[in-house]
């Protein structure tokens, strides 16, 4: 168990990180992500308000749809990345990272002007259990009358799961198809146990509970950013290749001017994915060396259990940010060869 943003969380369950990772890719993995924070935004100005503090375009959402977006500083850097769920025109639901929940809550409240919105921090009232992988839908369907096949990617619905009122969202952080289920915190244990049981936990093809380490390797293979690693208050959305959640034409939002300026001038550095091409494993914070110069740092580095390669992401000056560029990683004093490759490293077959 490790401390993770104030939560005691398992790095791995007895099956171990590799098996947890592979099972999620081939069958299903279960993740207790109740540590995530949840805010409710209600009121006639819910959409304009959230649209002003986040970078993606909230007005594009319809009821029952979710959106990946970011809370941005006036400099265009990232306070947090989050999901915005639209329940109704006057009712949004924000899901933020655990370690940044308090910071986000303070920030959002401090940015409120004369908008007619009511904000509630519901983080301690919700649990969140994610079931991910090719078998996720069939397992979850046994526990709910909600027709899961009708929920499109990045959409959600309200319904009962094992008799418990829940929000069922077709989202995830693994690169697989799957669902995230939000319910009252005191129902976490019931839902967790029921999903394990229904998913034939204990058999070779059954669902496996997955810890933080597998959650990290799964998202890294899919080249998804992790807050505090690829993105933070020092990195802009454009540098992090998150221009697609940066809707500069949607009207004013915090950080828009800085991002618009950076878009015109061009970024100086860019987030890239790399593959180690000789023996060695790149790790977070190690230096990236190009032509003998220390030009950047690894933001996430790890063995990739499904791809069976050693991969990573990191920042390099823009002129080197091209596929095929040879780089080196300073692995505890030894320079290890690597090469910039296309991301995501892993993409599931649809």
């Amino acid at each position: 168990m490790v401390d993770f943003g104030g939560w005691d969380m398992p790095v791995q369950y007895p099956a171990g990180t590799v098996e947890e990772h592979l099972r999620t890719r081939t069958h299903a993995g279960l993740f207790d992500v109740s540590h995530m924070g949840e805010f409710e935004v209600r009121g006639p100005d819910a959409i304009p308000f959230v649209n002003r503090v986040t970078s993606n375009d909230v007005t594009k959402l319809i009821d029952g749809q979710a959106q990946y977006t970011a809370l941005t500083t006036p400099q265009g850097t990232v306070i947090d990345d989050l999901l915005v769920y639209r329940f109704a025109e006057d009712h949004l639901f924000l899901v933020v990272n655990a370690g940044t929940t308090d910071k986000d809550w303070e920030w959002i409240n401090s940015q409120k002007r004369d908008e007619s919105v009511e904000l509630k921090n519901l983080s301690s009232e919700y649990c969140q259990i994610a079931i991910q992988g090719p078998d996720a839908e069939s397992i979850l369907q046994k526990l709910t009358s909600v027709p899961l096949g009708d929920i499109k990617y990045y959409h959600f619905t309200e319904g009962q799961v094992d008799g418990v009122n829940a929000i069922v969202s077709r989202t995830g952080y693994t690169g697989e198809d799957g669902f995230e289920v939000y319910a009252a915190a005191d129902k976490a244990e019931q839902l967790w146990n029921k999903m394990l049981e229904t998913g034939n936990f204990g058999t070779d093809t059954g669902v496996l509970p997955c810890g933080l380490a597998a959650r990290n390797t799964l998202r890294l293979e899919s080249a998804m950013a992790l807050y505090g690693h690829e993105i933070n208050e020092e990195t802009t959305l454009l540098e992090a290749n998150l221009g697609w959640i940066c809707k500069l034409n949607k009207g004013d939002f915090i950080g828009r001017d800085a991002l618009a300026k950076q878009k015109v001038e061009g970024v100086k550095r860019r987030l890239i994915g790399f593959e180690v091409t000789e023996r060695g494993i790149a790790r977070d914070d190690q230096e990236i060396v190009i032509n003998g110069e220390r030009v950047g740092k690894v933001t996430s580095g790890s063995p990739a259990p499904y791809l069976k390669k050693n991969i990573g992401m990191g920042y390099v000056p823009k002129e080197f940010a091209t596929e095929g560029q040879q780089i080196q990683i300073d692995v505890r004093g030894r320079l290890v060869n690597a090469q910039i490759v296309k991301t995501p490293f892993y993409k599931r077959e649809r």
């Binding site: 790095v11 791995q12 171990g16 990180t17 098996e19 023996r279 790790r283 790890s302 063995p303 505890r332």
Partner: protein, 130 residues
């Protein structure tokens, strides 16, 4: 319950030592491999390199983390388990056998006496988990 063979010596850094004449064979314990999780990479020294007792001689990496491994005794490397390059999982599967790491020609064989016995190591790991 971790396996702790009677006939070996143990360090507080979770290495084991098997004495064969003036040579020590060294690996990591069952308890250590279990705590690390799936070993995916092992880095070992070259023959002829010298290490003092308690000096790191290599590293073991799981998916999640890197751990240094320390030489329980002083001496010169006289062999390494090269099969771990392609089969690092042997460290998990057979930590006291196929997962051995180095052979070291001891410069002060008396150092072995200051290592833990199997019973002492078992007590030590219990303290570690509680």
């Amino acid at each position: 319950m971790a396996n702790v063979p009677e006939d070996l010596h143990y360090s507080k850094d979770h290495e084991w030592v098997r004495v064969e004449g003036d040579t020590a064979v060294v690996g990591i314990t069952d308890y250590a491999q279990d705590s690390l999780g799936d070993v995916v990479y092992v880095e070992l020294p070259k023959d002829g390199e010298q290490f003092a007792a308690n000096e790191p001689f290599g590293s073991v990496e799981s998916v999640k983390a890197v751990s240094e491994v320390f030489s329980p005794v002083s001496g010169e490397i006289s062999g390494t388990n090269e099969s771990l390059t392609d089969q690092p999982e042997k460290v998990n599967e057979d930590p006291y056998g196929g997962g051995w790491m180095i052979r070291i020609k001891m410069s002060s064989p008396g150092e072995v006496d200051s290592l833990l016995t199997a019973a002492e190591y078992e007590d030590f790991t219990k303290g570690d988990t509680e």
